[in-house]
């Protein structure tokens, strides 16, 4: 009985592991463009955060303006690089 149980466990698991799969997920490296889009999303989220905190009265005008300018500059740089990469012909 125990031998049958052990054999059955072995068989089922081996079949599961080595049964040929038709569709295998490709493992591809994340591109610079994908990274930049992620970065853009983060910067937009930071801007939304800043905007909300300012409306909530957490920062004075000067702090808000300085931080907004920094974030917008960073976002502009990212957007420029995205446009540059998207304009390049895909191989």
């Amino acid at each position: 009985m125990i031998v049958v149980a052990c054999g059955l466990l072995l068989l089922v698991l081996l079949v599961y592991v080595f049964y040929p799969e038709r569709h295998v997920e490709a493992q591809r490296q994340k591109t610079r463009l994908e990274y930049l889009h992620e970065r853009k999303d983060v910067l937009y989220e930071n801007l939304r955060d800043l905007n909300f905190e300012y409306r909530a009265g957490k920062f004075v005008q000067d702090d808000y303006a300085a931080q907004q300018a920094d974030l917008e500059n960073e976002a502009a740089e990212v957007m420029a690089e995205i446009e540059l990469l998207e304009a390049q012909p895909t191989r």
Partner: protein, 686 residues
Amino acid sequence: MPTFGSFALLLSLALCAYTLLAGIVALRQLATGAQGQISPERLAETARRSGIASFVATTAAAFALVWAAFNNDFSVAYILHHSNRALPGAYKFAALWSGQEGSLLLWAWLLSCYGFVLRLRHKVDVKLTAYASTILAGIQVFFLLLLNFAAPPFSLVGGAVPQDGFGLNPLLQYPEMVIHPPMLYLGYVGFAVPFAFALGALMMRYPGEKWIHITRRWTMITWLFLTCGIFLGAHWAYSVLGWGGYWGWDPVENASLMPWLTGTAFLHSVMMQEKRGMMKTWNVWLIFSTFMLAIFGTLLTRSGLVSSVHAFAQSSIGSWFWGFLIVVLSVCLFTFIMNRDHLKAENKLESLVSRESSFLFNNLVLLAACFTVLWGTLFPVLSEYVQGNKVTVSGPFYNRVAVPIGIFLLFLTGIGPLLAWRSASFKSIRKNFILPCIAWFVTAVVLISCGVHPWDIFTTNEQGSFYAFWAISIGAMVVTAISAEFLRGAGVIARHTGQNIFAAIVQLTRRNTRRYGGYIVHFGVVVIFIGISGQAFNRQVTQELDFKQSVSIGPYRVECASYSQDSNPNYDTEYALLDVYRGDKKVTQLAPEQRFYTASQQPQTMVANHSTLAWDLYVIYAGKNPDTGRPIIKIFLNPLVAWIWIGVGIIVFGTGVALFPNMTAAFAASRSRAAAPSTAIVQGGD
């Protein structure tokens, strides 16, 4: 069943070894572009499936051990030593983790569970998950090697099989012990997942911080399990060990605290990496250290390196763990050195007065606390090695060093959210700090007028009042800061949607569950600190009580109604029935007892506790006076203890909120449009 269990463990080892080796080959081929007989993607897929299959095999092994416990199979040495026929069912189940071999099996099984979920969810990022899965398989291989060759749980008893087992350690026969170790292990083991992702991301030079986003929930859940495990352990110690306290700075308690401290630091500092691309090296080493400390904690409990009420018997597996730690550290160091240029920060710290610097301070303080605990835990071992005699480090050392660190940490908890990212001007600081400072001042005045005098530390060397004063007053400051955060945010939503403030608070929390869930967790931490500060005002009395005799402590009078003895198949017991009066009104009856377990021939104190929000009336039956035959009753009046457990409940709730996904922008927009025509700010929101 033992044969089946042993076979399942061996099979699991083979499957994990395949996951590791095939994973390495496939990832190597993908990195170099080399091709074998089968494509690297197919090879990686079989490795992934093998990892999933190892979960089934390890589950089968764990099931075999539980089956043996429930069927009183005393031919298995582990069951013989950790169970007996009269043991209640729940404790038979708990026998799985009550000994060295069983608890290692639980480690391996939980690791395989985490691996199972990780490998099922591989589509979130196929390549990164393949790296993480391979690293996790390496950790699994180590534990399965231990289980198959160093600490096999299915070893058979030589000679005739005894009719009954030796029973479970009486200290473990308590309801919390059915849940505390699995919780703690879920925490320890769970840190393997963010560790595997961090190491994998570094190995593959993963661009961006998405790996943090992928592991965020894993880390939070793991942290929550470890938190619950630590506090369940504290509650168990409070209820079972019978010394009136919940934390004794025992080496094994410390072992669980260290990864918790670095894990907490990691949870905070990754936010800087996500938001600003900073502290990448720091974060990677924090999670590496957290995992290594979890392994080190396991080593402390099992090697006999330190003596503790919680430790397993001394064994030779310590050398296995040392070897594993050296391998892990070497792999981490090698990977870091080869890829350190990938961890270059995208931004610099611009000001010392900013959210970033508060996170940095928070991290430094948490690490200082971790180092203090590590130093105190290892000092007896080091002193014995250097001087030849063991110098034990006890509570006073930790109270002098760790408690001030904890209070400073509480202070940072309050000020961090009030500071802006990048830099905060004096005007902003003044604006945000006025209310919390007023709260601190008012609370300080109230405490002093109630007789809590922090200056007593200079005249009577009384530290308790000093620490309680600062913990409670800073706690009030933090609560005010958190409340202000909620009210400010809710005010914006209320103005734009017309909702009442409570509905607005709910909506605010749902929009940014991570941030506001985090604030709720901070609130829970404050409540815990307030509960702990009650310790400064503990009182105790020990008295022999005859029938109808009574003793007074605080507002209570405890009267002995009777004392007797009883017996059942599992244990013999002596107990006293004590009526508790407040004024003339009887509030409850307590029955502290002392048990003597038949199978293990060990005594055990069962504490009786009347817990209220103000204090715990904690009563111990300390045995009978052999001359008079009367029971000796020890009574503690411990203020505010209940708030510690309430604080943990708040932390669980807060973490649950933080784990919940944010309300989607689209959903929020539709709700806002329905509520009000002009909602641009709220949609942009947080």
